[in-house]
């Protein structure tokens, strides 16, 4: 969960944005980086699982949450990961849960990123009092302990509302990115290409949308990955504690029921560990992509591959 900290150096490395030679360069760079490939592969896998779950569980008819009549089975050929205390097939539940977890990650991640871009870039561009006010708000949100706040919110707002969870994730997750956006925005403000745009008489909105944002694209993507990671882990944590919708089909809820029914104590580790592993895998895919992104934009961080240079002594 501290993977988001890697963003600190991402910001440092990306504070000197490089003009990329088209999107082709990025795809090539991703292909050449093993971490990026692994992360991208995992992410693609999860997207597939979310979009077409029935492809992976072809024998499933109806809702995987329907109570079955063979409770608490160990993993077998019929039930790859066993069954839950209510006879539900763990594997099927796992696959079908991908959708909700992925949606939460992407929606909350996107929302938080958009908000952080708006606040951060505005603060950097507007400067003066507006900057001071926005920075203060950002810092306050940054320091407030968000997990307890989320818990309190989720409790008071009625447990289980998915929209509430997503909104709270967005509200608590934007501040980190806003700080980075502001820092980069400030460093860009007086760059020549922006000054020339101002002198040309371009409107402020044009300058922000067409000149600043494309240059900050790499930082924005890094931020999105970090926010998505944060959302996945926090949402799962919330649901695990029982503050999500207990009837929903998601990994965190599966874990909640597993814990609730004492899966570990009764000797059914698969039921408890599998959903957690799925959460971990999705989180890892974001973290890997994020780290690989770091390396791509800051070549100094790449692992050193020394080619043998022969000495020729005269």
């Amino acid at each position: 969960m501290s993977a988001i900290l890697v963003d600190t150096t991402a910001a440092q490395g990306l504070l000197e944005p490089r003009r990329r030679s088209g999107r082709g360069g990025l795809i090539r760079a991703v292909r050449g980086n093993r971490k990026a490939m692994l992360g991208a592969f995992l992410f693609a896998l999860f997207c597939l699982l979310a979009a077409f779950p029935h492809l992976f569980v072809p024998w499933q008819h109806g809702d995987p949450r329907d109570v079955g009549n063979t409770p608490l089975l160990h993993p077998s050929l019929k039930h790859w990961l066993g069954t839950t205390g209510l006879g539900q097939d763990v594997y099927a539940e796992l696959v079908y849960s991908t959708r909700e977890s992925l949606v939460i990650a992407l929606v909350a991640g996107l929302g938080a990123t958009i908000l952080s871009v708006i606040v951060g870039v505005s603060a950097a561009y507007l400067g003066g009092l507006a900057d001071d006010a926005l920075s203060l708000v950002t810092d306050v949100f940054l320091v407030l302990p968000t997990f307890p706040l989320i818990i309190v919110f989720a409790t008071y707002a009625g447990k289980g509302n998915l929209a509430v969870v997503v909104i709270v994730l967005i509200v608590t997750g934007w501040s980190y990115g806003a700080r980075q956006m502001r820092a980069q925005g400030l460093s860009l403000r007086n760059r020549d290409f922006l000054v020339s745009a101002r002198v040309r008489g371009e409107r402020r909105s044009y300058i922000i949308m067409m000149e600043m944002l494309p240059t900050m694209a790499s930082l924005i993507v890094a931020n999105f990955l970090g926010a998505a990671l944060y959302s996945v882990l926090t949402a799962a944590g919330l649901q695990f504690l029982g503050l999500g919708d207990p009837a929903s089909l998601s990994w965190g809820t599966m874990l909640y029921w597993a814990q609730n029914q004492g899966a570990l104590a009764s000797g059914f580790p698969a039921w408890a560990l599998a959903p957690g592993l799925a959460v971990a895998a999705l989180g890892v895919s974001f973290a890997l992509l994020n780290y690989a992104f770091d390396e791509i934009s800051n070549p100094a961080l790449r692992p050193i591959r020394r080619s043998r240079v022969k000495r020729s002594d005269s």
């Binding site: 900290l5 971490k35 306050v140 997990f147 706040l149 990671l229 882990l233 973290a287």
Partner: protein, 332 residues
């Protein structure tokens, strides 16, 4: 000096914002704390005494007779002076500050120590990893740490339980902070039991947290090592260690320190989850049970305490930056 006063001002402002949020959230949400408390107090068959209800609620800051502004001021005063009321959850009537005082040392001991340890160890390992480019630490391990730092706290906790603490032949205990039946005391038996119970939760926190620190420090070191002043240090004939620590690490560490302050949110989330899984009676666990039993006074006090702790850490980090970075001292 200006720098410090600004940070202090920020401290006070954030604390106030947190307390205000804490006050208004229950009042903004649907449902009514009064009836919730009433139903809680009326459990077990007997009807709640209205006088007792009002007392409890007044301590909670919710006096329906006064207007909202009075309630707010009263609430602020109570929070600041430590009048945190009594619990209305599972431990009905227990004074909140006593409950907190009991759980606090356990959390401080477990979480406080392991977090600081993870930070220090992670930073040191990161320094070496960044310094020895091309070594084992630098080329093979970073991806490993990327993975470990993205793992959810509760999953690692569960994994450890499965591996080490499950079933009758378990190596280690999987819940509570010391063996049931032992009386607390400064003796070897008790201490030993405490340690045994702390190993798995501590390992969970350590393993999940250390990866991130190693990576950030390593990346910072690599960026710093390219600086001219590091080369200058070598040019002066200084020993490798001196250049690595005094020139490279000293500078690379500064952004890490600010990062530590920002990471405290995760530490708190981790605390709650780990204490929950291991049934460890610290503040995190208390927070969880307070939430489940809608124990408003306890919740509010805990939230305030956590905010205070985070802000104190932030202030300490700011102070450390002030000491270590001469540029912060003069810019103000």
């Amino acid at each position: 000096m200006r720098y410090l006063t600004r940070r202090l001002g920020f401290f006070v402002l954030t604390l106030w914002a947190a307390m205000t949020l804490n006050f208004f959230i229950p009042r903004m949400m649907p449902g009514d704390p009064v009836s919730a408390m009433k139903s809680r107090l009326s459990r077990g068959g007997h009807v709640a005494d209205p006088v007792q209800l009002r007392q409890v609620l007044a301590q909670f800051g919710f006096d329906p007779n006064k207007n909202i502004w009075h309630q707010y001021v009263e609430y602020l005063r109570n929070m600041v002076t430590g009048h945190w009321g009594v619990s209305i959850g599972g431990t009905l009537g227990a004074p909140v500050n006593k409950m907190i005082a009991q759980a606090l040392p356990w959390t401080l001991g477990l979480v406080g120590i392991t977090t600081v340890l993870a930070f220090i160890l992670g930073t040191l390992i990161g320094i070496v990893a960044g310094w020895r480019r091309g070594g084992l630490l630098d080329s093979v391990l970073p991806p490993v740490f990327v993975v470990t730092s993205a793992l959810p706290y509760f999953w690692v906790a569960l994994l450890f339980i499965v591996l080490f603490a499950n079933g009758p032949h378990a190596l280690l205990p999987n819940d509570n902070n010391f063996d049931i039946g032992l009386t607390p005391g400064w003796n070897a038996r008790f201490m030993g039991s405490v340690l045994k119970h702390a190993i798995l939760p501590a390992a969970t926190i350590l393993i999940t947290a250390i990866g991130g620190w190693i990576l950030t420090m390593r990346n910072n070191m690599i960026t710093t090592l390219a600086e001219d002043y590091v080369r200058m240090g070598r040019a002066k004939g200084l020993s490798n260690r001196r250049v690595m620590m005094g020139y490279a690490a000293r500078n690379a560490f500064l952004p890490n320190l600010s990062g530590f302050a920002m990471s405290l949110g995760f530490v708190i989330a981790g605390t709650i989850l780990v204490e929950y899984v291991f049934n460890y009676p610290g503040l995190g666990h208390m927070f969880y049970s307070a939430t489940i039993s809608t124990d408003y006074p306890l919740l509010q006090a805990l939230f305030l305490l956590v905010t205070l702790a985070v802000l104190i850490c932030v202030l300490l980090c700011d102070f450390a930056v002030f000491l270590l970075d001469p540029r912060a001292r003069t810019k103000g």
